[in-house]
């Protein structure tokens, strides 16, 4: 399981990002959802929308809470999926002319 935006190359650059992504798997589990769900929402919007300009967010303010509850339920019932992935770590970029 990986974010769709990072399909091309799940790279992590620098120590700070590496530290931040220590719990990436858990964040993915409670905030992420299969791409099919927002895709269906987009189709619904395209089929029913009549206004000239609309911005729509799938992520709602209550989504993290619902995500945590879902993960808790999945852990209790052994029904969830735990992401298995390998992030590639790289040294931070330093410009060549900087000593």
């Amino acid at each position: 399981m990986m974010t769709t935006d990072m399909l091309t190359s799940p790279r992590v650059v620098g120590e700070k990002a590496q530290a931040q992504l220590k719990n990436f798997g858990f964040v993915l589990r409670f905030l992420g959802q299969p791409a099919e769900i927002p895709a269906r929402q987009l189709v619904k919007m395209m089929a029913s929308q009549h206004r000239e300009f609309v911005e729509y967010r799938v992520f709602k303010p209550w989504s993290p809470l619902f995500g945590l509850l879902r993960v808790a339920w999945e852990n209790l019932t052994h029904t969830g999926l735990r992401p298995e992935f390998e992030l590639k770590f790289e040294e931070a970029y330093r410009p060549e002319h900087v000593k």
């Binding site: 190359s9 992590v12 927002p38 895709a39 395209m46 967010r57 999926l81």
Partner: protein
């Protein structure tokens, strides 16, 4: 299930990930779907997976190349006579990393795909939509679109903030044109290769 019966829908960057999921959902709603990718192999694999040869077509397009994007619009019009929806989905996040740790070249490359690619797609689509006073353009937002910090993918988030400003300006400039514009933020998505049961 909402219907998009017989609508011709172009989705850039749709051989996998969210674009592919959109293609599946559009087909399920009755649309005719045009997918694009950067290699014939990826397109063939995606078309094979969609299993709707009569209602799908695929073309090699690199959205960073203006000529290729306009050529895509021409090819679709040649084949179907028109198109109804254009979804600027192609884009990616090169890596997670703090702004000061990232190679500036990665910012440029993401801008070329995520933003310039959307500009090319928008111009190609609007050129077709405006004379017809119909059609819908969709821009896919992402983390950073609403100007909240996007750490640790800040450079990617910046390209999505650009896209939001671009989309809002485009909507203002084309108010009353009959063309619909949708900025769609799908939230964090996952693809389920490499998962195990808890």
């Amino acid at each position: 299930m909402p219907t998009l019966q017989d609508r011709i829908i172009i989705i850039t960057g749709s051989t996998r990930g969210f674009g592919y999921a959109i293609a599946q959902a559009c087909l399920a709603a009755g649309a005719v779907v045009v997918i694009t990718g950067r290699s014939q192999e990826a397109i063939d694999r995606a078309l094979s997976g969609l299993q709707e040869p009569d209602r799908t077509a695929g073309f090699i397009v690199d959205v960073q190349d203006e000529a290729q994007v306009h050529h895509l619009a021409e090819l679709v019009i040649q084949r179907y006579g028109h198109f109804d929806n254009w979804i600027n989905n192609a884009g990616y996040s090169s890596a997670a990393g703090m702004i000061l740790d990232m190679n500036p070249r990665e910012a440029l490359e993401m801008f070329m795909a995520n933003d310039l690619g959307a500009l090319h797609g928008t111009q190609a689509a609007m050129q077709h939509f405006l004379p017809r006073q119909a059609g819908m353009l969709v821009n896919i937002y992402g983390n950073g679109s609403f100007l909240k910090p996007a750490t640790p993918t800040a450079l990617y988030g910046t390209t999505k903030a650009w896209l939001t400003s671009f989309t809002r300006s485009l909507a203002k400039e084309n108010k009353g044109s009959g063309v619909q514009i949708l900025g769609f933020s799908p939230g964090m998505m996952t693809t389920f290769w490499g998962s195990v049961r808890v």
